[in-house]
Amino acid sequence: MRITRLAKRVKSVAFFFLLLTGYYLLFTDAAYAMHISEGILPLNWAVLWFAVAIPFVAYGIKRLKEISGTDLSYKPLIGLMAAVVFVISLMPIPVPTAGTCSHPGGTAIPAILVGPSISVLVAAVALLLQALFFAHGGLSTLGADIVSMGIVGAFTGIGVFRLLRRFNAGLSVSAFFAGLLSDWAIYIATSAELAAGIKGDAPFLPLFPKILAAFIPTQLPIGIVEGAMTAGMVSLLFKRRADLLVKLGVITPEQARGAI
């Protein structure tokens, strides 16, 4: 009896480490932290995630058209922002708990600077580039990746940032929590998408927490790094180019005067 219980416990530990190994070796390579690879999602799920993502991307394009109608530098700015997000997402960050490297998502940064709707567009551009030319992510999983990294990441990031600013939290503190919670929200959304995609005829719920648990050792520290990165970025901009933050509506002119 005791042996059976022990065997069960060992089996669950083995299962956890199997998931973990898979995650480390696959999801933490030179790419966005949480891509879903081509082919994982069956067609119905791939189509569903596209249906969710398309209205958000379309609204982002509409906003881009409106703004670039009066400001010719806006399209290059968004393009360059996508390039920056792409590069940030390739930065190797050592994860002490896992003894490996992982990569940040970087979606909170554009969400704070250019707003969530344009940020979804930025993420979609970066993801499509990675899928087409770098074998990271995929065309069929693009919708799911946009939903988790673009939509969930951006809206969580900006939501947390604005909420904390409303409660008079400092710029860096708000940015830190925006980056942190945005990363963790991406990880929860990706786990849900993965669980739904590979569950087959089995129920969703037993698999979801297992995948969620497999992400924990890398995503908890990566979230903190992402928070620090977002805070560092905002604080550097505040020190050197507060006028840009005013122009983008992140701070008011009165707040910017405090930077001088």
Binding site: A7, K11, P42, V57, G79, M81, L90, L121, G232
Partner: protein
């Protein structure tokens, strides 16, 4: 980091095929791979795509490197499904420890089939996309996306991003090396700080470069629209070839 199209060469037949045709055929085959209930069809697509890549003289090392990540994922999902999913028992693997069997893994037949299906789908999808990616330069892809009615602002943003991707990668590497030389990553706190500064510097460069780019483009007559490569009329032989490939694919899909 190397792009697919850095290995592009014009000496193979797939490179000469119109990007629009390649993209449409690839999307049709991808839909078939994802919706197929068996393992043979995705496997056929994987083998054909892999062979095409080799015929394009893509070094095997590059191919393996590109496909290593999804291949391993396929293997892990296969093992997960085999041992931890399904009801119909196929085998029992007991891993003995000192005196008694401690770890018993039960392999399931239905789990194995589900795992195999997902694994070959990954294999098929990734190989297919790699074959198209290796055979199509960026600018032709953009023209094909435009022809497929992907909104122009989206493509323009993508072109700006692609243009500056490598500039920023180089900038990031330079800043990172400089920070490392000044012991910027010797402790957790220092490391976090350095990453923040690195990110901020890149964003600042992005802002400044975008302004310079816009000014330079305006001086050269930029009015907010970028011209895209206009596609030539589709050749009948390519269209017929594409239709045949999709029909053959469809027949194999139904079998």
């Amino acid at each position: 980091m190397k792009l697919f199209s850095e290995h592009f060469n014009t000496e193979n037949f797939l490179s000469t095929v119109d990007a629009r045709v390649k993209l449409i055929v690839a999307l049709a085959l991808l839909a078939m791979v994802l919706s197929h209930k068996g393992i043979i069809f995705p496997l056929i697509i994987a083998v054909v795509s892999f062979t095409l890549c080799l015929r394009m003289r893509i070094p095997l090392r590059i191919l393996v490197f590109r496909l290593a990540q999804p291949l391993f994922l396929a293997l892990v999902i296969l093992l997960l499904k085999f041992f931890f999913s399904g009801k119909e028992m196929l085998c029992v693997i007991s891993l003995p420890t000192s005196t008694f069997s401690l770890l018993t893994l039960i392999g399931h037949k239905d789990g194995l089939m589900e795992g195999l299906l997902i694994a070959v789908r990954i294999l098929g999808g990734v190989s297919l996309l790699a074959a198209v990616g290796f055979a199509t330069p960026f600018i032709e892809f953009m023209a094909a996306l435009s022809w497929l009615r992907v909104p122009k602002p989206f493509i323009e943003v993508m072109m700006f991003a692609y243009r500056y991707l490598f500039v920023f990668l180089e900038d990031a590497t330079t800043i990172y090396s400089a920070q490392k030389n000044r012991l910027g990553y010797t402790g957790i706190k220092k490391g976090l700080n350095s990453f923040g500064v690195l990110t901020g510097s890149l964003v600042l460069r992005g802002f400044e470069q975008s302004q310079k780019t816009a000014d330079a483009m305006e001086q050269r007559g930029y009015t907010g629209d970028m011209p895209l490569l206009k596609g030539k009329p589709l050749r009948a032989v390519e269209l017929v070839g594409a239709v045949l490939v999709v029909i053959f694919g469809g027949v194999a899909w139904m079998m």
